[in-house]
């Protein structure tokens, strides 16, 4: 699926480059559950955008099924990878179901009408995140959490085998956050690769097999080896220790 080799991601700063991610090497195979953590502005979103093929790595390579990401036809790539941005607002007042149906865009020709399978995928996605009752509502009438669930449903409707989620639960209450993560876990068990960026370490500890830490340095490893107080202290610049869960002081 996705192979990241000696990848560096930077953004222009003055006459130079501010490096966000350096020397990252990671394979994201079927069924992977990968969390991306790090302080605000560290580069979590940039990494997910690079994994989605929206930005090319500054150094190194990112391949999808052994082909460089950049060589993929955008529509074929979009059938394999679905991306949930931190925030996306339609400029006009679109109906929720029409937003979810956008997940089928990569599967449809320019003038094609959605097939029964496309409609079924849209309905299934609405049901997975419990937003069927919002289907006919306009965007402006939805709360922040409802909007986030609609956007997650859009991503699920794509039937992509790789899901990239940028802070998927940031606007959700505990119950809906749990349902979304359970849904992702079930998809991972069925072979979908899940990569999610989060500020909630408990979410990473509970739902990820591997963790990518982005900070002064970039590191990747099994969750239990990465989420240790020493590394978290260095990453976030505060003292950390384990209690019933991890406690910051």
């Amino acid at each position: 699926m996705i192979r990241v080799t000696d990848c560096a991601l930077g953004v222009p700063r003055g006459h130079g480059t501010r490096w966000l991610v350096q020397g990252l090497a990671v394979d994201i195979d079927a069924g992977a559950r990968v969390a991306v953590i790090g302080p605000s502005g560290a580069g979590k979103t940039t990494l997910l955008r690079a994994l989605a093929g929206l930005v090319a790595p500054t150094k190194g390579t990112i391949t999808l099924d052994d082909r460089p990401m950049i060589d993929w036809d955008p529509r074929l790539r979009a059938r394999r990878i679905a991306w949930l941005p931190q925030r996306a607002e339609p400029w006009s007042d679109v109906i929720a179901e029409d937003i979810v149906a956008l997940g089928r865009t990569p599967h449809l020709g320019a003038l094609a009408r959605p097939s029964d399978a496309d409609r079924a995928a849209t309905r299934d996605a609405l049901a997975r995140v419990a937003v069927e009752d919002l289907a006919t509502r306009k965007w402006s009438t939805l709360s922040g959490g409802e909007r986030q669930r609609v956007m997650i449903a859009r991503m699920l409707a794509s039937d992509a085998r790789i899901l990239l989620l940028d802070e998927p639960t940031s606007a959700l209450d505990v119950g809906h956050a749990m349902r979304v993560m359970q849904c992702c876990d079930a998809l991972a068990t069925a072979g979908t690769a899940i990569v999610f960026a989060t500020h909630e370490l408990e979410l990473a500890r509970r739902w990820a097999d591997r963790v990518i830490c982005i900070g002064e340095t970039t590191a990747v490893g099994p969750t239990e080896q990465m989420l240790v107080p020493e590394r978290m202290s260095a990453l976030f610049g505060v003292q950390a220790r384990w209690g019933r869960s991890m406690i910051f002081e």
Partner: protein
């Protein structure tokens, strides 16, 4: 039946009924049976040119009605695409100077006598003018996301194109007849439109509508931002190129045959979006139908009330307050 389809059926029926009314309006004792009979004979090529009723219906009024429907559909459909492209409900071909860009290049061609090369020349020139104006605006839009800046740039572009058109007309002052013809055309008129005009407009407008519909889903994706569109396989650059081409064909084709008709592309998509939501698969065709019906109503009314006022003046008179209303509604924060 979905709300969009229901509205589509209603608008189609209204367009057909209004079309018959529009054909019946004016000199000549034409009732519905005479009109339908003349259309039937015309369709199978058995119309009688010596019969006044047949001549009035098939050779004068049917082409005019069809041209009006086409132009209304083109301007409102083009407005829906323009708004989707700029992600702004105030983006309208007439407000942003696209129609005036089309008019300027077309007038330039008329005064140089290029239109004598064929009926296709003026639509091509108008489409080129519309595409150039759109390209300039898109370049500006890529530098700023500020609506006010974009609208002011559009107004400035429109003013420049209008001044350039006046300049060209002034320089050709000795050709009085041509100047009058161009001025009447610029005000937006359907006087004397024939089957030739209909065919000349139908080709670019038909192509433009098909191209617009082929971009409908990608424009929906673009509504969520460039990155989301790209992640769905809809390259913003490619969508932009195709949308510009479709608007150029629609606005160019409409302007070439009917002159500058303001605000139709602003108001109609705005109302349809309010009723049906912003999905372009229904927004574009329903706006096109709505635009066709409204323009036919305006044209029929001007024929009944006063031949002196061209429909372009009426659409501007009705559209300008609507523009202000949308502008003020935009300033109000949306409910969460």
């Amino acid at each position: 039946m979905s709300p969009a389809r229901r509205l589509g059926v209603v608008l189609t029926i209204v367009a057909a009924l209004l079309g018959i009314v529009a054909i019946g309006v004016g000199p000549g004792d034409l009732d519905v049976s005479k009109i339908l009979g003349a259309i039937g004979r015309g369709l199978v090529g058995r119309d009688d040119p010596s019969d006044l009723g047949d001549a009035l219906v098939w050779w004068l009024r049917v082409p005019r009605v069809l041209v009006v429907l086409l132009v209304g559909a083109a301007l409102a459909g083009g407005g829906a695409v323009t708004q989707g492209l700029f992600r702004n409900p105030l983006a309208d071909p007439s407000v942003l100077g696209i129609s005036l860009g089309a008019a300027f290049v077309a007038v330039l061609g008329l005064l140089m006598g290029l239109d004598r090369a064929g009926i296709w020349v003026t639509p091509v020139l108008a489409a080129t003018g519309a595409a150039l104006a759109l390209a300039i605006l898109l370049a500006l839009a890529s530098r700023t996301s500020d609506t006010t800046t974009l609208l002011l740039a559009g107004v400035a572009l429109g003013a420049t194109c209008g001044a350039a058109t006046t300049c060209v007309l002034a320089l050709a002052g000795d050709r009085y007849d041509l100047g009058i013809r161009v001025m009447r055309w610029l005000m937006g008129s359907f006087e004397g439109r024939s089957w030739g005009h209909f065919i000349g407009a139908a080709i670019p407008i038909g192509l433009g509508l098909v191209l617009a519909m082929s971009q409908a889903r990608d424009l929906d994706a673009l509504a969520l931002g460039d990155d989301v569109a790209a992640s769905l396989g809809a390259s913003p650059r490619r969508v932009g190129r195709r949308a510009v081409t479709s608007v150029a064909l629609l606005v160019g084709g409409a302007t070439a045959v009917a002159g500058v008709l303001g605000f139709l592309g602003l108001v109609v998509p705005h109302v349809v979006r309010w009723r049906l939501g912003g999905a372009h698969r229904s927004l574009i065709p329903i706006s096109a139908l709505g635009g066709a019906v409204i323009l036919l109503a305006v044209d029929t009314w001007t024929r009944v009330a006063t031949e002196a006022l061209p429909p372009g003046v009426i659409t501007s008179l009705l559209g300008a307050p609507a523009f202000l209303w949308i502008l003020l509604a935009q300033a109000r924060p949306r409910s969460q």
